[in-house]
Structures are given as structure tokens and as C-alpha cells.
């Protein structure tokens, strides 16, 4: 399956919905979207990965790159994911300590708001 990307504002935070496979072929599209959002001034991001079917280290790199970009503007990039197959790669790479990973978009937004 190809990669589908969509984004919308929710409670003042930009939510990026990702569906499909994030790999060496599709990851550049996600990277471009994240760069575009940051360039437009969206520094509070939530990436909803509930419908992501595959994620490799290229995709992880794009997410880390996005996090670096928003952090340069004192922003944030939180993830939403409950799938064990996706969470596993975050765990084995230690990136669970780098990203805030939440069960739902609402929880991610709530956690972000409470930190303000």
C-alpha cells in the first residue's frame, strides 16, 4: 500500500494523519510535508500513526528530523500509535525515550496542553 497523508488543526495543534507504509520510497513525502508545515509556522505537531502498516529506519529518520525542526522553534512532535509492530521499532532503537507516544490523538493533545 502506498502512503496517504492528511493534516488538520485540532485544538490549536496540527495533526498529521499517516496511512500506509513509511519506507525508503515513501518517507520523502512525509519529510516534505513536515518541512512544509514547519515552514508555514506549525510548530506543535501530532503525527497519528494508527493506520501505518510499516515503518523502517528511514521513516524513523524523517520523524526525528521533524522533531529537530520543531524543537528549533520550541515546538513539539508527538506520536499516536498503539500497534505493537510499529512500537517495537521505536523500542529497539530507544526512540521511545525521544518521542512522546500516545494511544489517541486526544491524549496526545491533552498531554501537550498540560505541559504548556
Amino acid at each position: 500500500m502506498d502512503l496517504k497523508l492528511d493534516d488538520h488543526m485540532k485544538d490549536g495543534i496540527r495533526v498529521v494523519d499517516v496511512e500506509g507504509e513509511i519506507d525508503v520510497y515513501t518517507a520523502p513525502r512525509l519529510r516534505e510535508l513536515l518541512i512544509d508545515l514547519v515552514n508555514k509556522g506549525d510548530y506543535q505537531l501530532v503525527v497519528n500513526m494508527e493506520k501505518v502498516e510499516f515503518l523502517d529506519s528511514t521513516g524513523l529518520g524523517v520523524l526525528v528530523g521533524g522533531l529537530k525542526r520543531v524543537r528549533a522553534h520550541d515546538g513539539s512532535l508527538d506520536l499516536v500509535c498503539r500497534q505493537e509492530r510499529i512500537l517495537k521499532i521505536f523500542r529497539i532503537t530507544g526512540l521511545t525515550k525521544v518521542f512522546g507516544i500516545h494511544d489517541t490523538v486526544e491524549e496526545a493533545i491533552k498531554a501537550r496542553k498540560s505541559e504548556k
Binding site: E21, D23, V24, Y25, A27, P28, R31, F54, D56, S57, T58, L60, G61, V62, V64, G65, L67, K68, R71, A72, R85, K88, I89, I92, T93, G94, L95, K97, V98, F99, G100
Partner: protein, 184 residues
Amino acid sequence: MVEVTFTPLPAHVRTARLVAVAVARRSGVAEALLDEVRLAVGEACSRAVEAHRQYCPAEPVKIELTDTGGRFEVVVTDAAPAGPGVPPAEVAGVTGIANGIPGPLEAVPAGQQATGSAAEGGGSGEAASAGPAGVPVPPVNGQGGLQDGFGLAVIAELADDVKISRTPAGISVAMSWPSSPGER
């Protein structure tokens, strides 16, 4: 044995993953391990594709899938003289590779500061910035991916037997999982 060669295009890596999982399932690899096969083969092929695109874009990447002696083995061989993510010295096993990666796998333990190898690697020239709870954000390379070698380290965590060796042509990544012929 199943052998697949493909032109080094990122779009073909997905095809390689699908073939590997199909052959693994046919070989009797447990369903619970198929996600690991998918990810590990994808990482190996991504690394090989990047190496070929950099050094020999006209040469195909080769994958061999075999099922012998209760093991399903996948060997991904590139033809790049100096692929990314592999130390210059000859390597005998994945331990050497993992130890040689000055990267995120070592950089992210809680409380670790953004100093040392984590801040120096990556080639982007950017200092690592702090993530939640002060954890440094791993460096990314010029293409926006994690630094070279990260994919190999992921493979090392996924396959229970990994051998990375330098062939006369390039780098060979061999990884295997248990298979159960009786379940075919």
C-alpha cells in the same frame, strides 16, 4: 532457493519485502516472526539500494532466500565498493558493526547528555537538541534519515543470526530465522 535481483530503486524495496515474507511463510517461519523478516529485509535492501545509487546505479541488488536445515536465510548482496553504514575494516559479524555505530542506539538512554558520539555523528553538522525529559534527539544525515549504519543495527536486533561480510564486489548481509518444514 529463490533468487531475486532488482534495479536499485526505492520503489522496489517494498517488492523485495513482499517476496521475502511470502517465501518465509512458505518455508514455515512462524507468523509471529514475519514482521521481523519484513523489517529486517527491508532495512538490508534499503541500505543496499542507497549504496548502489551512490556508487553503481546500473548494477542490480541481489537477494537470495533459502530454507535449509530448519533455518530460513536471506542474503542481501550489494555491488557497491564502499556502501554506507559499514566500517572500512573487514567485519566478521554483527557485533563489530553494532559496536562501531556511534549512533542513536547508544545515544538515547534516559538522562544522557547531547555530547560525545551522538552529537558528533550524523554529518549534518547540527548539534543534537534535547527531546522530552532531556533526552538528546539523534542526529540525522543530509537526506533527513538517521545516520548511516542505523539500519544495520536494527537488523541486528531483529534477526537472531546475522552475518555481515565484505565480498569482492561489495557488502553481504546474511540473516536467518528458524523455520518449521512440517508447517508448510
